[in-house]
């Protein structure tokens, strides 16, 4: 008996709204019936939505701690490292290239997909490098994580976001590999869409944190 | 186990045993409360505002006792009466709007009343203290209670952590003239019978909790804050202060003494005998 026949393909491959195969969906197995679950949404999308809800709650918790603390005396401040403008632009651009890649594969353009994904990976990597540069510029000014509450939250929030982005980059690495191996086509690219949910979310999250840290 | 109607089984003995077990729990529960009420019960009440909380306690006790007894009786009867036997089938009904609405709305109404009463008493606990209240400051520290009595003018001196030293554990500011007439003692809280007392609660290190069982007073001592509570003792005598928040390995040793002096003169005499801080 083997376990690999069941669902070792990551959820992204099940794509679309009519997954089939031994996952239990497909002919005779869908939760149909008069009062069954409504429009068909893929498992991967539901799972990603739940995961993004969890990530949201993590940053909701950090935000409430941030806002509560900020009202008390002794907040201190840390100057915004200018490189963050650049990293923000890089991340926004990476969302753009990802979107472009997704539309290209929807039209069947596999090369376009590969180019777009690769560009996204480079831009995402550059974002992280830039974030580290921002950390180092702060440290050079003597602003460490323990210096004052504002600097503490800066490192905490950018660090937490960066860790999540790194996870996204790792997933993107797998996707790029799969794209080069020809695993995506016009009818089987749902995984790209699910990944895009995550990546765009990270982008929006960064915009939010950037604003919270320096303009809210 | 075959529960089809083709093979009846007799579960009546088991039903009786389980029913009796539930009744035993019911009886033991009630009996233990009756016994406990004479030996292991609330500490004797010694404060005015504590009476309201105790009344609420008794009301809740009565209501929950009725609920505890009723549910256990019902379950025991059901188990004994409806144990499987012969060919008698179970019923199939499984909804009843009237019953469901009743047992939703009636407890809800009772709980609403309880909530209103709770809010009223809560508001009283946290109402502003009377103007003639005695002022005292209690500061928790691993593992003792510093008690600071104000100067004759009723003022507590400023404190600043930079002045903390072995001889000045609370860091009273020597620049403040009241610092010379504040009296600081360890683990001895004295108040005056029938006079409201207002306590400023602080902590030097971790979170402690200032607990006066007989007065129905409890307030966490949080470092970085000064939290005010007040109460009026109405029974002279000697009591204890307990720490009610885990504060380290010495948490269980953090006991203080409290004395409700019979009158202001007795208190003044006692205070005069304490040295300066």
């Amino acid at each position: 008996m083997t376990a690999h026949a069941i669902g070792t393909r990551p959820a992204e491959n099940r794509g679309g709204s009519r997954p089939s195969g031994p996952s239990g969906l497909g002919p005779g197995g869908r939760g149909g019936g008069p009062a069954a679950s409504g429009p068909e949404v893929s498992a991967a999308v539901i799972g990603m939505a739940a995961a993004l809800t969890a990530v949201t709650m993590l940053f909701v918790a950090f935000t409430t701690a941030y806002l509560a603390r900020r009202q008390e005396p002794g907040w201190g401040t840390v100057a915004m490292p200018p490189v963050l403008w650049l990293t923000t632009a890089l991340l926004l651009a990476s969302s753009g290239t990802l979107e472009w890649a997704r539309r290209r594969i929807a039209a069947g353009d596999i090369r376009g997909l590969r180019r777009g994904l690769t560009a996204t990976a480079w831009l995402g990597g550059a974002f992280l490098v830039g974030q580290i540069a921002a950390w180092r510029s702060l440290a050079a000014q003597g602003a460490y994580i323990s210096s004052n509450p504002h600097s503490g939250f800066f490192y905490l929030l950018t660090g937490a976001h960066g860790v999540h982005l790194l996870g996204g980059l790792a997933a993107l690495g797998i996707i790029v590999w799969k794209a080069h191996a020809g695993r995506y086509g016009v009818a089987s690219h749902a995984g790209i869409g699910v990944f895009a949910l995550y990546w765009h979310f990270m982008d929006l999250l960064w915009l939010y944190l950037f604003a919270l840290l320096f303009w809210a | 186990m075959d529960s089809g109607s083709t093979m009846p089984r007799d579960e009546r003995a088991a039903g009786r045993w389980m029913g009796v077990l539930i009744l035993f729990i019911l009886a033991a529960g009630v009996a233990s409360f009756i016994v406990a009420a004479h030996i292991w019960w609330l500490q004797p009440l010694a404060s005015k505002q504590g009476a309201a909380a105790d009344e609420l306690f008794n009301a809740i006790l009565a209501a929950t006792a009725i609920a505890f007894i009723a549910v256990h009786l019902f379950v025991a009867i059901a188990l004994i009466r409806y144990a499987a036997y012969g060919r008698r089938p179970a019923a199939h009904w499984h909804e009843h709007l009237g019953a469901e609405l009743t047992w939703t709305l009636v407890p809800a109404a009772g709980l609403v009343i309880l909530a209103i009463l709770a809010e009223i008493v809560w508001a009283r606990v946290y109402s502003p203290p009377p103007a003639n209240a005695q002022v005292v400051e209690v500061t928790g520290r691993q593992f003792l209670w510093y008690v600071r009595y104000p100067s004759p003018d009723g003022k507590l001196a400023r404190t600043d952590p930079k002045f903390i030293s072995a001889g000045n554990p609370l860091g009273l500011d020597p620049g403040d003239p009241d610092s010379k007439t504040n009296v600081v003692v360890t683990n001895e809280l004295h108040v005056v019978n029938n006079r409201p007392v207002r306590v400023e609660i602080r902590s030097l290190d971790v979170i402690h909790s200032f607990f006066l069982p007989n007065f129905r007073v409890k307030q966490d001592a949080v470092p970085g804050r000064s939290i005010m509570i007040w109460f009026t003792p109405d029974r002279a005598g000697a009591y204890q202060i307990a720490c009610a928040q885990l504060c380290g390995v010495g948490h269980y040793t953090m006991r203080g003494n409290m004395v409700v002096e019979t009158d202001q003169a007795a208190f003044d005499a006692w205070l005069a005998k304490q040295g300066q801080h």
Partner: protein, 581 residues
């Protein structure tokens, strides 16, 4: 058990034998993962239980010095941490959820089997990290499972405040991630993979409990994750999220700290309160199903049950402040939490009435599973009623952080939730292992556990009435507690009996797994879908085609039917009056 499985829709697939590692260690099969969770959490329950026995050995006779104060507090802390995180949280959804969900909905496995395997293998490092903390200098964490700051964020405040506390925080992160991964799976699978004909209105209440639990976990676990990350930073990176200014540490004032001690409590309890409802909702579902099956009667008020579970889930996010009534939080906030906390009693009461009414005019069979389920009602009522005292904030002032609180949460968690786990085990063991547990041993286990639980925890209410604070190494410092001694001895002796009774269960469990009588697919004549599969189900659960569902799972004793149960998967017509939805 089929060694070969034919999988629907997988062209050209042939079965092969799995290596031992693939089959037993890194399995992707939800049933194996469920069993892995069960055994691991059972082990942790024994660790937690042993710690409790140590605590009671000390508390009954404190003058013997069985433990010193540091060891005692470490035992208290680790007992709570192990039992809540590594036993209850992990067994309910990790073991029962994983094993049952695909079977109850007619799927072959969970939506994300790889993530499922990951969730178990994220728990294991958490176990190892926590157990390792017993061996570091200073010993394991000793600041309570609630680890209030700044006691827990400044190492010098306690001898265990070194590596032990940091390891505690790290192990908690593992558990939180493990549970989060699991919750993603449970939600997606229940939403997306139900068999044809199985609408949400036809799923067993066990699944409703797990479903709402998973939602609560997704929303609340990240908040504790955030708090624990900040705690780790406070302890290791010099930050001061939870460290107020000017603390006196070893005679010196701690510089450059600008945090707030209460912030930890708010974040912790925002997680902590939904957490305890996470620990009771699945039990409520399990008990509903067991009571219904062995009363041969539909659960009373299915719709009300679903609404109540959902209401409790929703309200659980609005009540966390009742753990903080005397914390120094604003009394206005306290007033708000009085209202929300009292409100949550209503759906709990509804459920209790529904269980009782299900028994009435039933045809009751007293299997071991049923005994534990019935006892759950008693224990939940006792624990729930004591909660009303604590919700009434002016009364809570006196009772807060006393043994009354310990009694309350042990009745609802250690007793009620534990009993639902036993009920579920006795009920689903045949499905899990293909054999029956011994019923006589089950009844012996039940009687001594039920009596032992009441005898151990009921007297704690009285200690609470006396004002006996929690986490006290010794009450001899307080003359007002001097007459508590006999109660402590009674509780300790009862606890020893309670602990000893569990060995009957352990023996029964493992002996029956290997040598119990072989079980058929549906030994209890139950209705829900998992009983359609063989015992135990093969890889892929269902054979060539998936089941189709024709009704809800509570059609017991339908008037006019040939037998007293109408399984969800049987198409034969049932008497017109009996069909549901």
């Amino acid at each position: 058990m089929d060694a070969l499985a034919v999988h629907e829709g997988a062209p050209g697939h042939e079965a092969h034998a799995e290596s031992f590692v693939r089959h037993y260690i890194f399995s992707l099969d939800h049933k194996m993962i469920g069993k892995q969770y069960y055994l691991t959490t059972l082990f942790m329950a024994m660790v937690g239980g042993a710690l409790a026995m140590l605590m009671r050995a000390h508390l009954g006779w404190p003058q013997n010095g069985t433990l010193d104060p540091g060891q005692y507090l470490a035992a208290v802390t680790m007992h709570g941490t192990v039992m809540i995180f590594f036993f209850l949280t992990s067994i309910l959804t990790g073991a029962f959820g994983n094993f049952l969900i695909p079977l109850m909905i007619g799927a072959r496995d969970m939506a994300f089997p790889f993530l499922n395997m990951l969730s178990y293998w994220t728990l294991v490092p958490g176990v190892l990290v926590l157990l390792s903390s017993f061996f570091v200098p200073g010993g394991p964490a000793g600041n309570g499972w609630t680890s209030y700051a700044p006691l827990s964020t400044v190492a010098k405040f306690s001898p265990s405040g070194g590596a032990g506390q940091t390891l505690w925080a790290i192990s908690i992160m593992f558990v939180l991630f493990s549970s989060l991964f699991g919750s993603l799976n449970f939600l997606t699978t229940i939403i997306n993979m139900r068999a044809r004909g199985l609408s949400l209105g036809r799923i067993p209440l066990t699944l409703w409990g797990i479903f709402i639990t998973a939602i609560l976990a997704v929303l609340s676990f990240p908040v504790l994750t955030a708090a624990v990350i900040m705690m780790i930073l406070d302890r290791t990176a010099g930050t001061s999220f939870f460290i107020p200014p000017n603390l006196l540490v070893a005679g010196k004032v701690l510089a450059n700290k600008n945090g707030d001690a209460l912030l930890w409590q708010h974040l912790f309890w925002f997680f902590g309160h939904p957490e305890v409802y996470i620990l009771i909702l699945t039990p409520m579902g399990i008990v509903s199903d067991v009571i219904s099956t062995f009363s041969r009667k539909p659960i009373f008020g299915y719709k009300a049950m679903v609404l109540s579970i959902s209401a409790i889930g929703f309200l659980s996010f609005l009540v966390w402040g009742h753990h903080m009534f005397v914390s120094g939080m604003s009394p206005l906030l306290g007033a708000a939490f009085i209202g929300s906390t009292i409100a949550i009693a209503v759906p709990s009461a509804i459920k209790t009435f529904n269980w009782c009414t299900t028994l009435w005019q039933g045809r009751i069979h007293f299997t071991s599973a049923m005994l534990f389920a019935i006892a759950f009602v008693s224990l939940f009522v006792t624990g729930g009623l004591s909660g009303i005292f604590l919700a009434t904030a002016p009364v809570d002032i006196y009772l807060h952080d006393t043994y009354f609180v310990i009694a309350h949460f042990h009745f609802v968690m250690a007793a009620a939730a534990l009993f639902s786990i036993f009920a579920g085990t006795y009920f689903w063991f045949p499905k899990m292992f293909g054999r029956m547990l011994n019923e006589r041993l089950g009844k012996i286990h039940f009687v001594f556990t039920f009596l032992g639980i009441y005898a151990t925890f009921f007297p704690m209410h009285f200690l609470g009435f006396m004002g006996n604070s929690r986490r006290l190494y010794d009450t001899s410092t307080y003359p007002f507690l001097s007459h508590a001694g006999p109660i402590d001895v009674f509780i300790s002796l009862s606890a020893f009996m309670l602990g000893a009774a569990q060995f009957v269960f352990i023996y029964n469990f493992f002996n029956s797994m290997l040598r119990g009588p072989v079980a058929g697919p549906n030994p209890w004549h139950a209705n829900s879908l998992e009983w359609a599969a063989p015992s135990p189900p093969p890889h892929g659960n269902w054979g060539p085609s998936l089941p189709v569902v024709y009704r809800w799972p509570y059609d017991y004793s339908v008037p006019g039917a040939a037998q007293d149960y109408s399984p969800q998967w049987q198409a034969e017509p049932v008497a017109a009056a009996g069909g549901e939805q």
